[in-house]
């Protein structure tokens, strides 16, 4: 390599890289545009974007979406505090919203908006509303276990008889919401005992999909997860769920817990009115129809809005009656830490 050549290459490389960089990152990086409604969302990205787009078409109000994950985004808003650019926060599971709620950062949701969702789908505090819902299910592999051998209650899985025979993904916000439901329903002592059983006997997977595929492959006979991963896979090529069935605990069992995806308006928002409008749109007939037909296979929560026909009706799931306001993810994290899971 002659020095002249390499010098030129160096120069060209050094000079070109910032331009390449600019070209590649323009429009991707999150820089809040004060003119636009800021939506912080840990809800499924395609659903959030469909809502935002339809909302802008309906109202002319421009939006900007910042995507994240449940817990980390909730804590991020808390750390950003009053300075947070967020106007609206949408979650996958409500405990991420209660983190923000407990920090006193939410404004009350318009009563008319709460009136658009089904009974029991908003917390007693009135500070946020459900925008979608998902149900806990037991997935099982009929070639490894018969229906008659399935546990009667999710609580049974803590029994030593189940050690090594069930899987779950306790590291994720999805599962932590289920534990929060158990905690609210059954109290600390029972939840602690159950988590100890989990630590001792459950095979831990990275996420719901890994749990589903492990049961499908026969690695463990049963697993705890949310319903929609299974229905999505069934609607596709069934590669990850073809060998499996779902079992609904019902009977107001902690294993029948229905987790609410939450929507709230930030108290520090300078676009409070538009933010309320957005939540009203999301929970209204049009927004809920977008959700129901999005193939996300989540439950719609709007009054009189049907979810995807493949799903068993939400009202028939016989979920445990839990005020979602009482779901405490911080306490769940502590209990799971004490149990040695986190």
């Amino acid at each position: 390599m002659s020095p002249t050549l390499s010098r030129r290459t160096l120069l060209a490389g050094l000079l070109a890289s910032p331009f390449v960089l600019n070209a590649c990152s323009k429009g991707e990086e999150y820089v809040p545009d004060p003119e636009k409604l800021q939506i912080y969302s840990s809800q499924h990205q395609n659903v959030t974007e469909a809502w935002a787009k339809a909302f802008t078409e309906a109202t002319g109000i421009e939006t900007q979406v910042r995507a994240g994950k449940d817990s980390s985004m909730g804590h991020q808003i808390v750390q950003e505090g009053d300075a947070s650019p967020a106007d609206v926060f949408l979650t996958e599971n409500s405990p991420a919203m209660t983190v923000v709620e407990r920090a006193g950062l939410l404004a009350p949701v318009d009563e008319a908006t709460i009136g658009q969702v089904r009974e029991g789908m908003a917390p007693s505090s009135g500070l946020w509303t459900a925008i979608a819902a998902r149900s806990t299910v037991l997935i099982y592999n009929p070639s490894k276990i018969t229906e008659a051998e399935l546990p009667q209650s999710m609580m049974d899985l803590a029994d030593p008889a189940w050690d090594g025979r069930w899987g779950c993904a306790p590291g994720g916000a999805d599962f932590q919401a289920i534990v929060a439901g158990m905690l609210a329903d059954r109290g600390e002592a029972e939840t602690t005992a159950w988590l100890e059983g989990l630590e001792r006997g459950a095979t831990v997977y990275q996420n719901n999909i890994a749990t589903m595929k492990a049961v499908n492959a026969g690695e463990v006979p049963v697993g705890i997860m949310y319903h929609y991963y299974w229905y999505r896979d069934q609607a596709g090529d069934k590669a990850g769920s073809g060998n499996t069935q779902l079992h609904y605990f019902g009977n107001q069992d902690p294993g029948a817990f229905v987790s609410l995806s939450a929507g709230g308006v930030l108290a520090g928002s300078d676009k409070a009115e538009q933010a309320q409008q957005f939540l009203a749109f999301v929970t209204g007939p049009e927004g809920q129809e977008i959700l129901a037909t999005s193939k996300s296979m989540e439950y719609a929560v709007g009054v009189d809005v049907e979810s995807d026909p493949a799903l068993p009706p939400l009202d028939g799931l016989d979920a445990p009656p839990v005020d979602p306001f009482t779901l405490n993810s911080d306490q769940v994290t502590d209990l799971m830490t004490d149990a040695g899971i986190l």
Binding site: P3, V20, L21, Y30, H75, Q176, Q206, A210, G340
Partner: protein, 544 residues
């Protein structure tokens, strides 16, 4: 040349250079300060309650077992392969040299994806040890092979002439002199193991790094995450200290630059076939399996629709990855420049402090740097959180030590006499830098820039925490798909990452081949002999 005349050349002691170098050094220490500060913020009681529990003991045990198994295995594999390639009559040695470096072209988390998609039962410690050993042994092979090429064969000939067998000769004359290369390579393996996330998460084998990522998902940048990160930092520093001790102070090369004897290749005889089979097995496990599996999944995803089966965003993701990689590489080189100039041109206490700082910074795991920058930006500069400048800063801090090595060897090619001449002709300090020093240093600097950029293009852990919202990189897109066990969707990104990393292998191979051929351009006041210095440079180039 006396050291005094060097600092008299001006640039090294220019206040601007000193200030900038000190500022950059502080910047590299910033993650340590932030993480320790955040961990301390919770108070002693919280730290004690959180850290003194069975779960932490379990994480320590996991980390310990992984190191206890992988470090020796990778060392034996690396040293054995290097000896076969450089010191025996192994057929096609030059080809094997390339093949032994080829695993570096397959990011470890891609390798674990390949293995687990082929053998789903391969989880836990066994799978983690298999994949990390196969991915990391080149870190030992590279410096050992480079040193073996330069090592004077005189001692071996003396030993043989006194009747010591070939194995005994190797053990008694060569091995001791390989100590710095072996301990340096083992250090790299150990640091990589401490920082590894992708492989271990996929293998469902929890260590501190995976636990930090999990704690981040649960509690964002809370005290507990920083407590875990502090333990990880301590482990890294312990490993670093052990390596300094293991390297030893004994001189490993001849004094003066007499004519060194090239070693005569050791005839393998009836060991030729087993040696070839052994090396072939290593290549099969470390390279053929991952590449075959990536291609298989690539074909599975594209068999029906051809190129249309490739993800629509593949080109876009590749470009934005390259953009970040080039930007990060450029920033690392720019930030490394003042320090490199200072180290090259002056031997003050500040220069020594800077050198040590860089050494410590080279042990920083990506997750610690990222966690610190998240904490810092969300608290004090929310406008910076999840922006391109912040992630570039993270990359620059992570890879600064590597950029420094390249810059220093580049600056060594520009002797101070030239700078002095330029000054005598009336050029100012920065004029000298821009018109005399940098052009001469260009090839090395460019190599360093490319090495850093390539490393960034497959960086996963820090990117997971700091990627600007909406920005997709190859590593992130791959991780997103493989995390859902969607192997076919992950394959195209894996294939591009492998393709991008091939030049890395080629560049590093040159490091071995040119070993020894590269005479130092001038005596170094620090009095390192060329072989040891070269070993160190090679080691630092492959860092992370």
């Amino acid at each position: 040349m006396p050291a005094s005349s060097r600092s008299a050349s001006g640039l090294g002691s220019a206040p601007a250079v000193v200030t900038l170098a000190a500022a950059v050094a502080l910047l590299t220490l910033l993650p340590i300060l932030v993480v320790l500060g955040q961990a301390a913020a919770g108070g002693v009681a919280e730290a004690r309650d959180y850290l003194l529990r069975p779960r932490i003991a379990e994480l320590l045990a996991h980390t310990g077992w992984l190191m206890l198994l992988t470090v020796p295995l990778a060392t034996v594999l690396g040293v054995g392969a290097a000896w076969l390639v450089e010191r025996t009559d192994l057929p096609l040695a030059s080809t094997w040299r390339t093949l032994m470096l080829a695993p570096l072209a397959v990011p470890a988390f891609v390798s674990s994806y390949a293995w687990i998609s082929w053998q789903p039962g391969l989880v836990g410690l066994g799978g983690a040890v298999l994949v990390t050993t196969l991915s990391y042994f080149p870190f030992v092979f590279l410096p050992v092979a480079a040193l073996l090429r330069t090592l004077d064969a005189g001692e071996e000939e003396v030993a043989r002439s006194l009747g010591v067998g070939p194995v005994g000769t190797f053990a008694r004359t060569v091995l001791p002199r390989l100590r710095p290369a072996i301990s340096g390579g083992a250090l790299l393996v150990a640091l990589h193991l401490l920082a590894e996330y992708g492989v271990l998460e996929m293998m469902r084998y929890q260590t501190f790094t995976t636990a930090i990522l999990q704690q981040y998902a649960v509690g964002f940048s809370d005290v507990r995450g920083s407590l875990l990160a502090s333990v990880l930092l301590v482990l890294c520093l312990v490993v670093l200290t052990l390596e300094v001790a293991a390297r030893g102070r004994a001189r490993v090369s001849r004094l003066g630059s007499g004519a060194g004897a090239r070693a005569l290749p050791q005839p393998l005889g009836r060991w030729t076939v087993p040696s070839l089979l052994g090396l072939a097995l290593v290549v099969a496990l470390a390279v053929v399996v991952p590449v075959t599996m990536v291609l298989r999944w690539l074909l599975a995803g594209t068999s029906q629709s051809g190129a249309a089966g490739l993800p629509a965003d593949l080109l876009w993701v590749t470009l934005s990855t390259l953009g970040l990689a080039l930007g990060g590489g450029l920033l690392a080189v720019l930030l490394g420049l003042p320090g490199a100039v200072l180290l090259d041109r002056s031997r003050s206490w500040l220069a020594t402090a800077l050198e040590r700082t860089t050494f410590v910074a080279s042990a920083l795991p990506g997750v610690v740097v990222a966690l610190a920058l998240v904490t810092l930006s969300v608290r004090w500069a929310p406008a910076l959180y999840q922006t391109v400048p912040l992630i570039l800063l993270a990359y620059a801090i992570l890879f600064l030590p590597r950029a420094m090595v390249a810059l220093r060897s580049g600056l060594a090619a520009a002797p101070p006499e030239l700078s002095e001449a330029a000054r005598a002709l009336g050029a100012g300090g920065f004029g000298v830098l821009g018109r005399v020093v940098l052009p001469l240093a260009a090839p090395s600097v460019l190599a360093g820039f490319v090495l850093v950029a390539l490393a960034i293009s497959t960086e996963l852990t820090a990117t997971l925490l700091l990627a600007p919202t909406g920005t997709q990189t190859l590593a992130l897109a791959f991780w997103g798909a493989s995390d859902e066990l969607d192997y076919a969707a992950a394959a195209p990104y894996a294939a591009v990452m492998i393709a991008l990393s091939v030049p890395l292998t080629v560049m590093l191979r040159r490091q071995i081949v040119t070993a020894g051929a590269e005479a130092p351009t001038r005596g170094d006041a620090a009095a390192d002999d060329p072989a040891a210095r070269h070993t160190r440079d090679v080691l630092e180039l492959v860092e992370r």
